[in-house]
């Protein structure tokens, strides 16, 4: 009898607790879109320079100088994109193109239209140790709910998968706090922790729900652009 009561309680509790969580399912675009005045209530937190320790900072600054110069010259910045390679974490959350969230109680998938990048966040599991997973672009992710906030933890990112050219160790950990600021506005606060950093690197993105948008396929199948040794970019012309 006691067992039956317990089962009944569990059965009642499950749907109720699922309903307690906000539903992020759907398609989202970065907010504010260019040219649109931002509602200050939903403004993302600007991304500061990574708080790198002095031993890593000098090289980063030198690279930033190079990057700035390239941008001014209109040259490619040497990002993954130029080589048709996905961003990986945490860069992929920039949402260059629309993003889709698929939410189930036990798993949440986040897909970026750009390069069809997919993250799989396993709910209520323990984050594996970084040196027990094979390093990858999107890493290993687990999640849990803290009230209305989805907390996602990620580790196991390849050392050469970098955001804004920021070096990191294999032990880098990314913690995200995702919540709705309004029914159609999603916020993702990102905290990067690593031994390369003096303190956590914290910033956020905002996203706005898109009505009736279906994500498109993105397979990088024919990259005709290449960067020559002098750093300039060229196009492979179809010789006929």
């Amino acid at each position: 009898m006691r067992k039956a009561l317990f089962l009944a309680a569990v059965m009642m509790a499950s749907p109720a607790s699922a309903a307690d969580h906000p539903d992020f399912s759907g398609t989202w675009e970065r907010y504010p879109p260019p040219g649109e005045k931002v509602d200050p209530r939903y403004a993302p937190t600007p991304i500061p320079d990574p708080p790198l320790k002095p031993e890593y900072k000098a090289e980063w600054q030198a690279n930033q100088k190079k990057l700035q110069q390239r941008i001014e010259e209109g040259q490619p910045a040497g990002d993954n994109y130029v080589h048709c390679i996905p961003d990986g974490m945490p860069a992929m959350m920039m949402g260059m193109f629309p993003m889709e969230v698929f939410q189930r109680p036990e798993q949440i998938n986040i897909t970026q239209e750009a390069f069809t990048q997919v993250r799989r966040v396993y709910m209520n599991q323990t984050l594996p140790k970084w040196d027990e997973v094979d390093p990858s672009f999107y890493g290993a992710s687990v999640g849990h709910w803290e009230g209305d906030t989805l907390v996602m933890e990620t580790t196991g990112i390849k050392e050469d998968v970098r955001f804004r050219w920021t070096p990191h160790s294999g032990a880098m950990k990314i913690t995200e706090r995702m919540r709705l600021l309004a029914p159609d506005i999603l916020s993702d606060q990102i905290t990067v922790e690593d031994s390369y950093l003096e303190k956590p690197w914290v910033y956020s993105y905002s996203f706005r729900r898109m009505k009736d948008y279906k994500l498109q396929e993105y397979v990088c199948e024919d990259n005709r652009e290449y960067v020559s040794e002098d750093g300039s970019q060229h196009l492979r012309i179809d010789k006929k």
């Binding site: 040219g35 260059m96 990088c220 199948e221 024919d222 652009e225």
Partner: protein, 137 residues
């Protein structure tokens, strides 16, 4: 702009989609000369709907009774799609007029800035910061 109103409406969503790229885009388009344009008339030989970029290949009239082959780069299919293009917007054999920013290195190609379809419709391919490209042809 010399565009029909219906087409001009395409500019906004495209510009929005394009400049949504934070910082630098997939690439900078620096290999194209934005100080001048070249207008080509000719027949489409291929329209390639691929990532990271789509391409339009045409045999353009060279003014001497012959043709010369040109390769024109466009943006990505998802951006083109959001701007009203599809994989069937043009097809091989179509007679078109293309305005492009030519490649700086002198190869026969460029960045497609505007395409006039056989039915006269002008299409804009959503070039990032399109206003920075001078149409001189």
């Amino acid at each position: 702009m010399r565009l029909k109103t219906g087409v001009r409406l395409l500019v906004l969503p495209l510009a929005a989609a394009t400049s949504a790229v934070p910082g630098s885009a997939h690439h900078s388009f620096a290999m194209f000369d934005n100080t001048r344009s070249v207008t080509l008339h000719g027949k489409v030989t291929a329209y390639q709907w691929t990532n990271p970029h789509s391409y339009l290949e045409i045999d353009a009239e060279d003014g001497k009774g012959g043709t010369k082959h040109y390769t024109m780069e466009m943006t990505s299919p998802n951006m083109l799609h959001r701007g009203g293009w599809s994989s069937r917007t043009v097809k091989p054999g179509d007679s078109v007029t293309a305005v492009m920013a030519p490649l700086r290195d002198g190869q026969p190609g460029g960045l497609l800035l505007e395409l006039t379809l056989p039915n006269g419709t002008k299409m804009l391919p959503g070039v990032p910061n399109a206003q920075r490209y001078k149409v001189t042809s």
